[in-house]
Point group: C2
Chain length 374, copies 2
């Protein structure tokens, strides 16, 4: 008998209705971080490819103790949100194919199977349709698509079995306080040239907890991840980082963020959107928006010379987060200006603009309506 | 009510007898890589510490889909073996506390809870006692202690729940053919200064599969992991790497392996043992045994000048593996001498000596008898 390899397909999706769906009067009654009711699950084997997708009640997975993911970190994921407009009528995703394509890049780096992008999007939409009742008007739920290796074999081998899952959770209200960042300790960096910082592998996250815990213990919100002896600024916590300085020569504002070319930072969907918005809005005013390497010393020097304009972190989970303080590796606290109180102008502009897109206050090609979700 | 935090303890171990233990006439009837019958499991919570250990029939774990280990690679492990002497009478471990201490170092790096070392050893012994019937005379089983984060929370947080597991498997007969190593591609390195190469985290393994697959596709056994533009030689596959060259100045053999000081390589238990054996045996003959950085160019130069003596990889899984070929990043194949046919003299000496210790042909402090196991 010939075994045929199947690509991921949303056709034939089996929906197993929840016997006991969560009852709630108000969304605010639901505990934050709580999982929603359903789990989307698709199983893959190296010989047969992707099986029939199933949308079933959320519950524990049964995994062999020797499963690849448990020992060898063969796992990658995405973070996304599903938004509901303030009038309650529209449910949307934000540039979802960008996340799906990045998940495929991560799968390739982790030697995991890839997903047919349109099938993955169709399954994501189906999932959001099923869980749309958890999204309050003007709010969102957090979506977590992931792929992990599940074959049971204690020797290190490329996964021959895997699962694609989509789950979701309520999210706590974001802390709106501007971030206090602490430079990463010299014995801990997040990523390196020739590593896998550009891919959203689990392996990029667990090892950051140690420095993060130390930062929080010392009163900071997040770690500012530096790289190399020169202290190249890469990311802030699990988000991309932007600094704005007045250029020494031109006197004009220069917006800087770490480039993707070295492969050390995550190519954030929010990052890309922020760059596009800033370039469209400010280039004509002479503001430069540059993806380039800069160091913590560059920020410190700009601050000393009164040229530091603002700084902010951007990402799906924390959205647009202005930065108020940065502690240098030498222990000096740089106070970052916030031109309009709790934010700088640039961060304020992109937060407002993206919010309008995400919550359907304007029509925009980045907003992806889930037509079936009400 | 006050909650008391408990350290790991072997006291109160609950043994749940297997209802249907594996029946076999000869060990050779058992498939390689097959799990043995039991799983040791201890659960930890941040408030209560370690619970009662349980030794129960091997079977699937029930894990919440949002479990930390599945998303954030909060996992670390050890590789060990339990050996049975050729006369069948003795079952031993090899320097087991070294592995347990390293597991604790890995836990610290991965923000996972640590184990009281003597309790962990007692549980390991109990496990080996239970599974000793799977170890043929003159053979071994492979042991896998591991700790992983199990709390279900989609936000990245330090594990508040974890499991310590011990499982074991039969192992395929090792391929005795000398290794062919291919230098890691420039866009993929295993570890870096400020990373976590020194800890046995899952996050060090999954991301190596990509380069390893490419190497195997091209006819090599393993990747020789280089670091930085200068090509510092760090590890071979999942093992430590040794090269022997004739020193340019003294003309004497110099045995070299990457130092631990930079934190990029795993502090192998076999590595440490090999260094001790070589120093004891050869230092008086003027042979230098150096933990120092050396590059792929150093090896190539030594080969060009007829000064390359031998090379070998050492580790628990692959034991002592002589190297026959190394492909440089430029694509040149260095032929590594093997003075006695399929091995060099040094590799042969340490393989013989360690074998005698592991299979109880000699009494040695590194050999740890499991008295209760027969």
């Amino acid at each position: 008998m010939t075994v045929t390899y199947s690509e991921l397909s949303a056709k034939g999706l089996v929906i197993e209705k929840h016997p006991n769906p969560t009852q709630f009067e108000n969304h605010s009654d639901l505990p934050s971080s709580r999982a929603t009711d359903y789990l989307l699950e698709v199983t893959w084997t190296i010989d047969q490819g992707w099986g029939t997708p199933s949308l079933h009640p959320y519950g524990p997975l049964s995994l062999d103790p020797a499963s690849s993911v448990l020992h060898y970190a063969t796992t990658c994921f995405e973070g996304m949100k599903a938004y509901r407009s303030f009038d309650g009528k529209k449910v949307t995703l934000f540039r979802p194919l960008d996340n799906i394509n990045r998940l495929n890049d991560s799968c390739a780096r982790a030697s995991l199977p890839q997903l047919e992008p349109n099938a993955a999007l169709a399954l994501l939409e189906k999932f959001v349709e099923m869980e749309a009742r958890f999204i309050a008007p003007g709010s969102f739920i957090y979506l977590r698509p992931m792929v992990m290796g599940t074959n049971a074999h204690l020797g290190l081998t490329t996964p021959t079995e895997a699962k694609f899952l989509i789950m979701a959770s309520m999210m706590p209200k974001l802390n709106a306080a501007p971030l206090k960042l602490c430079s990463s300790p010299p014995d801990q960096i997040r990523a390196w040239k020739g590593g896998f910082g550009y891919a959203k592998l689990g392996a990029n996250y667990g090892p950051t907890l140690k420095a993060n815990n130390e930062a929080i213990k010392n009163g900071f919100s997040q770690v500012l991840w530096l790289m190399g002896e020169e202290g190249i600024v890469t990311e802030a916590g699990g988000a991309n980082f932007f600094a704005v300085i007045k250029n020494e020569k031109t006197g004009k504002d220069e917006i800087m963020t770490c480039p993707l070319t070295t492969g050390v930072i995550l190519p954030g969907v929010t990052r890309r959107s922020v760059l596009e918005l800033l370039r469209n809005k400010y280039t004509s005013e002479g503001v430069e928006v540059n993806e380039k390497e800069f160091t913590i010393s560059d920020i410190e020097k700009a601050s000393d010379e009164g040229r530091l304009v603002e700084a902010f972190a951007v990402g799906t989970a924390y959205f647009i987060a202005p930065v108020q303080t940065i502690r240098t590796p030498a222990g000096k606290d740089i106070s970052v200006p916030m031109s309009i109180g709790t934010s700088g102008d640039y961060a304020h502009y992109i937060k407002e603009t993206l919010s309008q897109i995400m919550w359907s206050k304007v029509e925009h090609p980045w907003s992806h309506p889930v037509a079936s979700a009400q």
